[in-house]
């Protein structure tokens, strides 16, 4: 009668029932419910990242390797032909993924580091720091960022480092605005006050108390800012003041081969060549937008439009 196995124990039962789902399981469950557009976006993003990471292995030729025939037609040797000085377009498309996406990612991270960090510091300390930072951001945002970037590039010259820093700083103003507006509601919570009374430093409060609570909007914003940075880098390179040759880049590739479009009636393939990098840019931005859209709906429906 006193056999332990037969007696009822609520603890045992609940222990078997409530198995905590691992993070991977939670993500998988969320993904299963995701709409088709989000799946499409995710697959495209992963494909782009893989191409960018393994560009050296995937590309048939060297990034700046020059072949004797410029503007060669599409063929088995050159899948998308060659460009105006005889470089393989397919190879440069693959390397372009690495350069353009890499630079855009680094820039976005940097802008979040600057903008997010300053915004959190401003919301925690308040007072003069907050005032000065906010007014500076207001003034910087009053100039359209492409114009501002062009002006700064004319001063510092177009190197990849200055490109990254200039765009990151300009873009960090928008990150600052958003982070400040969401963090300001968290900063007044009791647990933040408690942490402050406990004597925690500003860095601890930023990382351990506030950041975990404002993560969803920041993640969504990261996607949107990435798109924006990516388009800005592409536009600047297209204008000839961004990523400089011989580095392959989608924006400048469009510009270099644009004249081929006039020959569309004679050779439609040649006319499509300059549109390939542009389409690559467009596809990635569309994909990121789809994923961000889904993520925003999932995490709270925070912003329906814009």
């Amino acid at each position: 009668m006193n056999n332990a196995d037969e007696s009822y124990s609520p603890l045992n039962e609940s222990a078997t029932r409530i198995t905590r789902r691992t993070r991977a399981q939670k993500i998988w469950l969320g993904l299963k419910k995701a709409p088709l557009s989000a799946w499409f976006g995710l697959i495209v993003i992963i494909a782009y990242l893989l191409v960018a990471l393994f560009a050296q292995l995937l590309a048939p030729y060297g990034e700046a390797q020059i072949f004797p025939e410029p503007y060669a037609q599409w063929s088995a040797e050159h899948i998308f032909g060659t460009d105006q000085i005889g470089r393989d377009v397919y190879t440069r498309l693959i390397y372009g993924a690495q350069n353009t996406i890499g630079i855009a990612l680094v820039t976005t991270f940097l802008s979040f580091l600057i903008g997010g960090g300053l915004a959190l510091a401003a919301t925690i300390t308040r007072g003069w720091t907050d005032q000065i930072l906010s007014r500076t951001v207001d003034a910087l945002m009053a100039i359209p960022s492409l114009i501002f970037a062009l002006m700064l590039l004319s001063m510092f010259g177009s190197s990849i480092t200055s490109l990254i820093i200039i765009i990151a700083v300009l873009d960090s103003t928008r990150v600052f605005r958003l982070t400040r507006s969401v963090a300001i509601n968290v900063v007044v919570m009791d647990y933040v006050e408690a942490a402050r009374l406990r004597g925690e430093g500003i860095g601890w409060i930023m990382r351990k108390e506030i950041l975990p609570n404002i993560m969803p909007p920041l993640v969504a914003e990261f996607g949107l800012r990435f798109c924006f940075v990516f388009l800005t880098v592409a536009a600047l390179s297209f204008l000839g003041v961004g990523i400089q040759p011989p580095a392959a880049d989608w924006g400048s590739m469009v510009r270099e081969n644009a004249s081929l479009i006039q020959f569309a009636r004679y050779d439609i393939k040649a006319a499509i060549t300059p549109l390939l990098p542009a389409a690559a840019i467009a596809l990635l931005t569309v994909a990121v937008n789809f994923v961000v859209d889904w993520f925003l709906h999932k995490t709270s429906g925070l912003r329906d439009e814009f």
Binding site: D138, A139, L140, A142, I143, P144, S145, L146, I147, F148, L150, M151, L152, L153, S154, M155, G157, C227, L231, A234, A235, F238, L239, G240, V241, G251, V254, R255, A258, I261, Q262, F263, A264, R265, I268, A271, I272, P274, L275, A278, A279, I281, A282, T285, V286, N289, D304, E305, F306
Partner: protein, 326 residues
């Protein structure tokens, strides 16, 4: 004082302050150049005297704040300085005043922007209002997906797609928008058709989505429901209740997007080789011709700020709550 007047004055003051900050930033772009830029402008062979004369001409021997006020003063009177290009090491100066470079191109850019606005604004308002009224219908969804896609496209992609289809495969419009003083008005319209169409596609998406959001927001407010329950007709609700409150968001949307147009114009002008101020600025950036860059940046930023200010003021002036204070 009437609350509207004080609000407007406040906004104007804020706008002026922003303009001041922006002018300081643009002015200091000359300040932050590396010390040896005299040599890089005049060439390696420049003698000591020519470099000193050049620095003196720019006033680099005077303190910065004095030069700032001189600069602002001359900009106010329409003198934007002299271009860096055309200067030689020997001291021969064939450089042109920036105003002569900017003025004709500014007119071209305004022409393009004006044409775009004429097409884009009515189209976007129509699409935005109708899709808000018939929301979640097939029409609404189609418009939404289309605009979401065009928003994600870089301007030059849209531009080259249009060139491919409308200039190359089916030559309806010319692909290059090369205009000068001798071009007649009709020719000018025809040549700027493709750039204007590109810009329209780019900004209609933004404008339409913002209009739709504003109207939907409005239709959700209690007084609209009240009117509905009272038994007012659909058109009465829209004309009497919704529209007076919608002017503010719509004006903001229009001005915001015209300001956005200011930026989009740069890339589009380069694609179509249109002699506007955007292209001038890009060329000046590549040759590091700072006075021209400054002038263009000042024009762009000034327009941007003024348009946003106007939107703000229209938003306040048309606000029924402010018009009839209790």
């Amino acid at each position: 004082m009437h609350p509207i007047v004080s609000t407007i004055l406040q906004r104007l003051g804020l706008g002026l302050f922003t303009l001041f900050i922006v002018s300081v930033i643009i002015f200091s772009s000359l300040e932050m150049l590396p010390g040896d830029f005299g040599e890089s402008v005049l060439g390696q062979a420049a003698t000591e005297e020519t470099v000193t004369a050049f620095r003196k001409e720019l006033g680099l021997d005077k303190p910065a704040y004095l030069r700032y006020f001189e600069w602002v003063g001359s900009v106010m009177t329409g003198d934007l300085g002299t271009s860096f290009s055309g200067r030689a090491a020997s001291g021969v100066d064939r450089s042109r005043p920036v105003v002569d470079l900017v003025a004709p191109r500014l007119w071209n850019t305004l022409f393009l922007a004006g044409m775009t606005a004429l097409i884009a604004v009515p189209l976007a308002l129509f699409l935005g209002i109708t899709s808000a009224l018939y929301r979640n219908s097939l029409y609404d969804r189609t418009v939404n997906v289309t605009t979401l896609t065009t928003i994600s496209f870089p301007e030059f992609f849209v531009a080259y797609l249009l060139i491919l289809f409308l200039a190359s495969l089916w030559p309806v419009f010319p692909s290059l928008a090369t205009v000068d003083d001798t071009t007649s008005f009709g020719q000018r319209v025809l040549k700027t058709a493709l750039p204007a169409l590109t810009l329209t596609l780019v900004i209609v998406a933004h404008m339409m989505r913002m209009t739709r959001a504003a109207i939907i927001n409005l239709l959700a407010s209690p007084y609209i429901e009240m009117a509905l329950l009272k038994g007012s007709s659909r058109s009465e609700i829209i004309i009497k209740h919704a529209l007076p409150n919608a002017w503010a968001p719509i004006a903001t949307v229009i001005a915001f997007n015209l300001a956005y147009l200011v930026v989009g114009v740069v890339v589009v002008e380069v694609v179509f080789v249109y002699p506007g101020i955007g292209q001038l600025m890009v060329d000046a950036v590549t040759t590091r011709d700072i006075p021209v860059v400054q002038a263009c940046a000042l024009i762009f930023a000034g327009t941007y700020i003024i348009l946003n200010l106007v939107a703000d003021i229209i938003g306040t002036v048309t606000n029924p709550r402010l018009l009839h204070p209790r």
